[in-house]
């Protein structure tokens, strides 16, 4: 994973929301990188901070109450957090594009889909109206919309959800961005359509050589589509890995629990293994490792309850934030805590 292969690297990103009830630390110390032409998936349950991470990269966190409090976002050699609004505008929609979960509400209902796509093309590529329009039709054809000449003049509500998401994708890739952030692109769609959209994204990625930052809660999608995965839990990345490795051998207890709790086709269990408890609220995070109240080990482990483990590379290309992950102890800091709290049972990787 050499540096020059990275298109985007996020380092120690923290985004907080300053609300009346207190500071909600939506994203804390998140670091990951997206390879050129690769797909990086951020996976996690609702409220874990994955969408805010994406919005932070786009610098679209609503401000106030939100604010990027620290960290760097290096994209194509530039630190996005340090850019002015005007420069950022040149990147948005042009170098980095984004698609959202709800295509219905994300498209402006009162403009034709064509004019919405053409707007981006004209803005970033300086084309005149006619050429931008021609490009728009071409884009629609590219994202697999039949009869694009006709449909380009339609309004979003005249299309089905799948079509709308295709339009969103067309709008996003119209300026051939090098990074596409897809925030739960298929959650609102039916299973059969989901697959179509994911296929489309994959196909476009191959054609344009763009990278995709895929944000989803669906581990199935991640397993099928991602090259690298970051698992987020309660505003932090708890496990960062190459995808196949993650699914064959999850290292963090949360990842393990998640994978086991999924009902799978072809397997007939009497009961599903579960992760007990529930996802903590950002204003109400537990001390120590945030997963400890739901963790089979952490529940009665003093260290887990008081000190939060950092994300650390435990094997080649695999980072975990868990005191009991295999090989986590190869660290000076670990030794310090071990002497304080004593050694505990090892977390097995195959339970």
């Amino acid at each position: 994973m050499s540096n020059n292969g990275k298109l985007l690297s996020v380092e120690n990103l923290s985004t907080h929301f300053f609300t009346e009830q207190g500071v909600a630390k939506a994203v804390q110390n998140v670091s990951f990188s997206v390879k050129k032409g690769g797909t990086f998936a951020l996976v996690g349950e609702s409220g874990c901070g994955k969408s805010v991470t994406a919005l932070s990269i786009m610098r679209l966190v609503p401000e106030p109450p939100g604010k990027i409090v620290s960290g760097e976002i290096i994209f194509e050699g530039r630190n996005l957090t340090a850019l002015g609004e005007k420069q950022m505008r040149r990147i948005r929609g042009n170098r980095i594009a984004m698609i959202f979960q709800e295509p219905m509400t994300s498209l402006n209902p009162v403009f034709t889909v064509g004019s919405q796509i053409a707007e981006a093309i004209r803005l970033h590529q300086g084309k005149n109206a006619r050429r931008a329009w021609a490009d728009t039709v071409e884009m629609l054809r590219k994202v697999g919309i039949a009869d694009p000449q006709q449909r380009v003049r339609e309004y979003p509500h005249q299309m089905s959800g799948g079509m709308q998401q295709r339009v969103m994708i067309a709008m996003a890739v119209s300026c051939e961005p090098s990074l596409l952030i897809a925030d739960e692109p298929t959650t609102a769609l039916d299973v059969t359509i989901q697959a179509q959209i994911l296929d489309l994204l994959e196909q476009l990625q191959q054609q344009n050589g763009m990278s995709i930052l895929l944000i989803t809660h669906d581990l199935g999608i991640v397993a099928e589509r991602a090259d690298d995965v970051g698992v987020m839990y309660a505003s932090r990345i708890v496990e960062l890995s190459e995808a196949t490795a993650l699914f064959t051998e999850p290292l963090h207890p949360y990842t393990q629990g998640l994978l086991k709790s999924l009902p799978r086709l072809g397997l007939c269990e009497r009961r599903l293994p579960t992760i007990s408890g529930m996802v903590p609220e950002p204003l109400d995070f537990p001390a120590g490792c945030k997963f400890h109240p739901r963790c089979p080990i952490g529940l009665d482990d003093k260290r887990c309850q008081s000190v939060e483990p950092q994300l650390r590379e435990v094997r080649q290309g695999r980072c975990v934030a868990c005191w009991y992950a295999p090989d986590y102890e190869s660290d000076a800091e670990y030794k310090e805590y071990e002497s304080k709290y004593g050694r505990h049972k090892r977390l097995s990787t195959d339970s």
């Binding site: 059969t192 179509q196 397993a223 196949t244 998640l258 999924l262 799978r264 086709l265 599903l272």
Partner: protein, 332 residues
Amino acid sequence: MAGTNDYLLTVDNLKTYFAIRKGLLRRTVGYIKAVDGVSFKVRSGRVLGLVGESGCGKTTVARTLLRLVPATAGRVVFDQTDVLSANKPELRRIRREISLIFQDPYGSLNPRMTVGDIVGEPLKIHSSAARQAVRSRAYKMQRVATLLSKVGLSPEHINRYPHEFSGGQRQRIGIARALVLEPKMIICDEPVSALDVSIQSQILNLLKDLQDEFGLTFVFIAHDLAVVQFFCDAVAVMYMGRIVEQADSEQLYQNALHPYTQALLSAIPQVAPAHRGQREAFGGEVPSAVTPPSGCRFHPRCPLAETKCRREVPPLQEKGPKTGHLVACWQR
């Protein structure tokens, strides 16, 4: 319950149409056939899964069963009572004996009522005057508390409001409400699809435990075949208002006959990394319900479609003797 052969619920050729009105006099010019000739039977104590994409009519079936939506035609017999022609007291009984669990854990609980009131309200409504004394508030609270602990919540939550709970907990409240009248049957309308992954399994386990404990009959509506497989004894696959395939769970998953069922199964992304890149893409979209395709409604998306499929509606027929495996396809 009578003999095991008895079906608790029999749905026969159920149709629910919604009129499309147009023109000066708002005349009905056509119908959206949300449910168009659906038949199925549920044995007591068993779980029937109803699977399909959004808009296929599965939720409408659920609502029609309780007469929350008027049916256009057909027959629904629940526990020897004809639901569609039931009079007021009969309907009351039916609504006591069939409970609904909803998809949206946020929208399905009244935000202005405490958990105790939400769960206890059905009791209040269905307490007859004679039993009023017994079914006092104290009794009600007692029963609610018991149920809450049964669904995995603390009885101390009784005076709390829904917004103080997480999605999973709210779904538990919804389940408690469904159980409070000791129903014979529960219809679950996508009970886990709005929940987080780690919570889904908890709720599914809970439902399964409850079924084991009370011997309940379920109609389980979902779009996720994996979830259905886990929970259901039999599965019916719906497409555009009709059942296209129906079979025992095992049979269906091992030997799906209808091309639509096959496509659905194939479309589910699998966590097993071995599946990577194996899935076939499945084209097309669900056509408009206002102008459904002629013949087999699946034919525009079907890889096997022939002329006959375009012209004639395939009947739902048993494939192979005594298998109970029904499919509506000319090609099988």
